[in-house]
Symmetry: C2
DNA sequence: ATGCCTTTGTGAACGCGTGCACAAAGATTG
DNA sequence: CAATCTTTGTGCACGCGTTCACAAAGGCAT
């Protein structure tokens, strides 16, 4: 999963539900919804855990934070659990969402059908390009950034999605926060700084790929018997001297693009 | 970030680098690259940590797993550190990547400029729609699913990106794995089951939004003094009886769409 | 060369998350 | 009604990750 784990370190477990559990509730909800559509009345923790890709003990402990919603010897009532989790996640109400930055990614997000089915509603699409203003994307006309504050206050929006280039992200973020947004999903490859009380989650494709590459390299290295990375304490390095002579080579020979590559047409995180 | 934390539980720290540290290395790398482009020669752990949005002690400990690359009283050599982290992440080599499922999201990913600048190269775009075959997306002609196995073996691809509808994801995954792929980045809203040795990371927009909604609801509830969720032990629930009478109401009144909403035109995770 | 100042690298403590293993609870059967 | 079987709910222990706090190390000025 993509990433984004810079959350609220303290104050995290508000009414007792651990952050890790909250992160898994949507997973359970999805599995339960599928069961519900197949009209399955009850599930055991074992079955549901398997469907959600987790350990059954973990699932039971997770549910125990919500209350005792199961029946021993039987399992959990699917419909009831769907309702309880939905309520706990706040999905029984409608959440208007604004998407800022209607590039390739923003358009993809706007077209995403999963929004409405989970209580989220795209209230507006916003972009800084005047040429885009008025043009419909996914049936919704794009509005200019100038309208940002008005849109948010008029619709009572509290969740914003940033899909702009990295260079614009912080500025957009500041305006969103000033306008009253308190939760942000950030697709731009930047570390956003926000005031206390504002939640930020990050989705970053490039980071995910780099993590995969690390493990991939390790797999390839072990396979050949030779560990890929240099071993921690192994005497003085022979080839490259540590502090001096920083090897300016390699690193995939980055061509001198225009500034940070996050400033690119920005389609996805860098 | 997006999510995806179902990793390799054991065997995780191969040569001693903790998983949590690996996940942060790309963050440091990005900050360092920005500094490098501004020709900054050295940084202190404090400065770099601030730029990466982490705690300085954590950063120093992270770097300590890589070796002693800093100079006490001075800081870290930017260029050298960029090189070391790149090497550790396996970014000094080229990673061919295939993207399967060229819908809205797949196209957005294909257009993403951040690939090449980090050692990743889009080797091929693959889609099951024969109508798309041959048509160029981001300058690369889309190929039909039939070619999948050949493409992967011919190009020695080991990393695959799944951007298909949920219904097709597992099948595509199986074919990718059978063809030799050992790392998968999954955008489809499904739990993929893979054999031992294959890494899967998941990016799921809907989950991120639901987590935000949870905190948002909590914020709104606390603000008014009344906790949103039911308090754990507070005597017998008055309104709704726990096991019996599963409230089939609410849950955002899902309209009977075609099957699981993951089967939709699928643009993003559900 | 000596002393001071800055910053790294890390030992140790703490807290969260995970998984085991089992007792309690309810269903079910005879 | 009693015995048995299934499955939940959770106490407990363990390990990872985070953070503090400080000693060691290097630069720099005198």
């Amino acid at each position: 999963m993509a990433t984004g784990r810079n959350h609220r370190p303290a104050t995290s477990r508000s009414r007792g539900i651990p952050e890790a559990t909250v992160a898994r509730l949507p997973l359970y909800l999805r599995a339960l919804t599928a069961l519900s559509e197949r009209s399955v009345p009850t599930v055991s923790s074992e079955e549901l855990a398997s469907a959600a890709g987790v350990n059954s003990a973990k699932l039971r402990k997770d549910f125990s934070y919500l209350g005792s919603y199961g029946t021993r010897g039987v399992g959990y009532d699917v419909e009831y659990l769907v309702y309880q989790i939905s309520r706990e996640l706040g999905l029984t109400q409608d959440w208007p969402v604004v998407i800022v930055g209607i590039g390739n990614l923003g358009a993809a997000l706007a077209n995403y059908g999963g929004f409405a089915s989970r209580g989220f509603r795209v209230a507006a699409l916003i972009d800084a390009d005047p040429g885009l203003a008025g043009k419909p994307v996914a049936g919704i006309p794009v509005q200019h950034t100038d309208e940002l504050e008005k849109i948010i206050s008029d619709n009572g929006v509290s969740i914003g999605v940033i899909a702009t280039p990295a260079g614009a992200a912080q500025q957009v973020c500041d305006r969103l926060v000033a306008a009253g947004i308190t939760s942000i999903l950030n697709f731009a490859p930047t570390v956003l700084s926000v005031p206390e009380g504002v939640d930020v989650r990050k989705v970053d494709l490039s980071i995910e790929l780099q993590i995969l590459a690390f493990h991939e390299q390790r797999k390839a290295g072990e396979e050949l018997g030779a560990p890929p990375g240099r071993r921690p304490g192994e005497g003085p390095e022979a080839d490259t001297a540590p502090p001096a002579a920083p090897p300016a080579v390699a690193v995939t020979k980055r061509p001198p693009e225009s500034g940070t590559d996050g400033d690119l047409p920005a389609v996805m995180p860098a």
